[in-house]
């Protein structure tokens, strides 16, 4: 991680007893490499390194007895500030049901996270959610969500694979009102941000049901492309939050910083496993440490 990367420069500084601008240049170069290796986006890293450069050549580093530690502190502070504070609240509509829409690329974890959110809403907030199977494309997607519904003993709304996702969403809301289900979570099919027809479909669902939350679900191991994906989904849908999945893996997760930097939307939850109770609040400070390695 960053600490090891800075070792060489730190030893050299100890030997000389004073820090030069060249030393600082070297240290910010190591910061850049550490962030790129952690999958933070190239342009986001460029902007970030500019931000810390000023502090890095300031008194706090240049006159410190432990300049290496100071650089790490500067980087951690700036990263944590960029990641934002912890924000894991779920919207509550003035009049039920509160509608949550799950969107994202193929395989990111939307269906699984739909189940996890339903579980959380009931266990922690005593809510009565309805799961909506609006993925009519992926083989056995409806079966997958219905299986999760059975495991949770929770209702799943489906009109089968011949129905239109917009109709499914609308009719699900009608059922929720009739059956007094106070949360509706709409699971949509994975899609590419560059697939215009499918992105239009999401806009149609949004304009029909006016979701209180639109969660962009992103795989934590996403590389440089995270910026393209987050930007497109956010520009077209104005998402309200992000869920970063598969954080139980060993990926550094730089995508988190890229996503936050380019959308400024809160990362609310972290998927920490395949089971339906493995959803945690997203901790920005912990993520900053993880990214730095």
């Amino acid at each position: 991680g960053l600490a090891e990367r800075l070792q060489g420069t730190i030893q050299r500084i100890k030997g000389k007893g004073k820090v030069t601008e060249q030393d600082v240049k070297e240290m910010t170069r190591e910061v850049r490499l550490a962030l790129l290796e952690a999958d933070v986006n190239f342009k986001v890293v460029k902007d970030f390194v500019k931000r810390i450069k000023e502090r890095a050549v300031g008194q706090e580093v240049m006159e410190s007895l432990t300049p290496g530690q100071q650089v790490i502190k500067v980087v951690k502070d700036e990263l944590t500030e960029l990641m934002g504070g912890e924000q894991s609240k779920i919207a509550v509509a003035d009049r039920p049901p509160t509608v949550i829409m799950m969107v994202g690329l193929q395989g990111a974890g939307k269906t699984t996270t739909t189940g996890k959110l339903a579980n959380l809403l009931r266990k922690k907030y005593n809510r009565n959610p309805l799961l909506v199977a609006a993925d009519v494309y992926r083989p056995a997607a409806i079966n997958q969500l219905e299986t999760l519904g059975k495991q949770l003993n929770m209702p799943v709304f489906s009109l089968g694979t011949e129905a239109n996702p917009v109709d499914i969403a609308n009719q699900a809301i009608e059922q929720a009102k009739a059956e007094h289900q106070d949360y509706v979570i709409i699971d949509t099919a994975g899609r590419l941000h560059v697939d215009n027809d499918l992105m239009d479909e999401l806009e149609q669902i949004k304009s029909n049901v006016n979701p209180d939350e639109i969660f962009l679900v992103v795989d934590a191991m996403t590389g440089q492309d995270a910026v393209n994906v987050a930007e497109s989904f956010n520009e077209q849908l104005d998402v309200t939050g992000v869920v970063l999945t598969k954080l139980d893996g060993d990926t550094r997760g730089g995508a988190a910083l890229s996503i936050k930097a380019v959308t400024d939307k809160p990362i609310k939850f972290a998927g920490m496993g395949e089971k339906l109770d493995e959803l945690e609040a997203f901790h920005p400070e912990r993520m900053a440490s993880r990214i730095l390695g």
């Binding site: 395989g107 974890g109 992926r138 083989p139 191991m221 492309d225 994906v229 139980d248 060993d250």
Partner: protein, 282 residues
């Protein structure tokens, strides 16, 4: 990489941005750029028109290392059963790729059977069954929750008794840092090597093109557990470039055999290194 620019610091910075943004990896890119700068001096290259060729050459070289540039095909038996085991982390496209490959092999006149080795995830067996129907091939399955090794064992017996040429085995997605799950996978592979001569003929690691540097860790760990023989790089129809496969091939000698270009049964193509390198700049 526009034609007729000067080959100066700006040129190399732009090149660095393109390649890092393609997930080639910062160390590989820095080494490449050092190498290119030497080449520029040695050949006295003045404008970027000449550079395009040199850069593509170098990238293809990184990929092939010092082996000759043979596109690597599936190593299937001429007669007797061939088994292909599909492995990889969650959600990358294993099950979908099996459906596509079953279709392709059937078109080539092979008799194909599928083994529903993901006995864990909700709807996994049903999902593979739909692909089996689409490709027109049989699916061997047990109940959800049963032992994946037992399903694969049954798949092999069924493939033998039905005279199948190829058995494609699906497995549950798993993150490479989960030791017990990697051990489970090693056990499935053991069953295949015990029951089928030279089996499995292929262990294909399915990698998602949107994955960053973690793909290298996936390749290393899955290879330690199952001796991966090839990669299928999926979701290349998106904007991600999957540049990490250059370093994977260079360091681990694992070739990309196929690429996934969509969600339809026909969206599978043989890997072409030159086309791939070209795509990094598109």
């Amino acid at each position: 990489v526009a034609r007729y620019r000067k080959v100066d610091e700006d040129f190399f910075e732009d090149l660095e941005e393109i390649l890092i943004s393609a997930d080639v990896g910062v160390t590989a890119v820095m080494d490449l750029i050092d190498d290119l700068k030497m080449e520029v001096k040695r050949r006295n290259i003045k404008d970027s028109g000449e550079m395009k060729e040199v850069i593509s050459e170098k990238l293809v070289d990184i990929y092939y290392g010092d082996k000759d540039e043979e596109p690597e095909k599936l190593q299937l038996h001429e007669d007797g059963l061939s088994v292909i085991l599909f492995v990889g982390v969650n959600g990358v496209g294993k099950t979908t790729t099996i459906g596509k490959m079953a279709h392709q092999l059937k078109q080539e006149g092979k008799k194909v059977i599928l083994a529903a080795g993901d006995t864990f995830r909700a709807g996994a067996i049903e999902q593979l069954e739909v692909w089996g129907e689409r490709a027109g091939v049989d699916v061997i399955k047990h109940n959800a929750g049963s032992d994946p090794a037992a399903v694969v064992f049954d798949g092999i017996q069924a493939a033998r008794s039905r005279g199948a040429d190829v058995l494609l085995c699906d497995t549950a997605g798993r993150l490479q840092n989960k030791v017990n799950l990697m051990n489970e996978l090693a056990k499935v592979k053991k069953v295949i090597s015990r029951e089928v001569p030279n089996g499995p003929q292929e262990v294909l690691l399915v990698l998602d093109a949107t994955t960053g540097q973690n793909a290298m860790s996936q390749a290393k760990t899955f290879s330690e557990a199952t001796d991966v023989s090839g990669i299928v790089l999926t979701k290349l129809d998106g904007t991600a470039k999957g540049g990490i496969v250059l370093a994977i091939r260079n360091e681990l000698q694992i070739p990309v055999k196929y690429v996934g270009l969509g969600e339809k049964v026909t969206d599978l193509q043989a890997f072409d290194a030159h086309a791939f390198v070209y795509g990094l700049f598109a």
